[in-house]
Symmetry: C2
Subunit: 203 residues, 2 copies
């Protein structure tokens, strides 16, 4: 007697789904079952979206945000934006939260990650050289470091500040403190410490 | 100034990923970023696997397990299996755990779900009629109800037992009790109650 197993096409689908980050054996089985039972149209749609995305979507040659067919992204090709403000983010996905808050009118630079020797990410793996080049071409600009406030983000900010210091630019960073709507009771000591250190005058 | 947004190809990928069960906006963004940054090969592979699976994988016309191109599945086409044992499971994915335990040598029947009026699943949505047909063609067989031990599974088992009672077959169900390796301290009261009710003689 041969043990029953999934048809090879299902096994291949399971293997492909399991390669996605955060998806394990059980999750892949649940997704495959869903695609085969209720989601046949969704499967075709996702297959097409994946093919199209990986074949047409690349990075903006200037800032590193997503763009199609090697063109400049919307922000970089928008001449009404303030090119003297350069917001430095880790990932292309960090651009959208900043756009959504509606207050920033400058340009972006996506670093491609943060310095993290434990994960094998060193400064030369990030688009630091290109950042310095852009800053050199924009004398008097302000570079806003919008990196995450964890250890690697801090280290990256310090490294970049050092690299940028000989150039004719201002360097600033996002304020650290209490998030909107949060009570003191839920703030961790480091957040509170930074909120105290960064306190601003009212009267 | 136009707000920066993802290129339409990325937006379409995000929308398709978000349709998957258990994947929200953040999860879809994380997956899309991964596909576009590290997983371009995986994206092509998953796209191909999805297309192939939904176009070739269907269900075994006899038991409802996965099979390709409308053929009988491995179990149903295996003449060395004991056709007088019919293991009834909810989903095709429930077949594999039973196969893996290595003790079952009979055939399967996938119901396609369990009766759950709250989710709009009624007996006529499940392959009950086909089960009765199979049992009628196999007089003297044993139907083993291997349904989940939640409320819907119990209700489905009771309903099926009633439907099967006029037919010339035995009906049994999986034992309920302590899972292997579990201590009494972690067993919930219902599990313990069922373990007591189903106790078996030793001496």
């Amino acid at each position: 007697m041969k043990a029953q197993d999934y048809p090879p096409e299902v096994l291949e689908l399971l293997a492909s789904l399991k390669r996605m980050p955060g998806v394990g054996s059980k999750g892949a089985e649940r997704l495959a079952l869903w695609f085969l039972q209720q989601g046949r149209n969704e499967a075709q749609r996702l297959a097409a979206a994946l093919s199209t995305a990986v074949s047409t979507v690349g990075y903006c040659p200037c800032c590193g945000f997503f763009s199609t067919e090697g063109k400049l992204c919307t922000a970089c090709s928008d001449t009404t934006r303030d090119s003297s403000l350069l917001c430095l983010v880790e990932q292309p996905t960090d651009v959208l939260p900043i756009e959504r808050c509606g207050i920033f009118r400058g340009l972006y630079h996506c670093l491609g990650g943060k310095i993290s020797p434990l994960d094998g990410v060193m400064p030369e793996d990030l688009s630091v050289e290109k950042l310095l080049e852009r800053v050199r071409a924009l004398p008097g600009c302000e570079v806003i470091l919008a990196l995450s406030s964890d250890v690697e983000g801090e280290a990256t900010a310090l490294y970049l500040a050092e690299q940028l210091s000989p150039l004719p630019c201002k360097v600033s960073r996002l304020a650290q403190g209490l998030p909107a709507g949060a009570g003191l009771g839920h703030a961790d000591p480091i957040t509170l410490m930074r909120a105290l250190q960064g306190r601003s005058g009212l009267l």
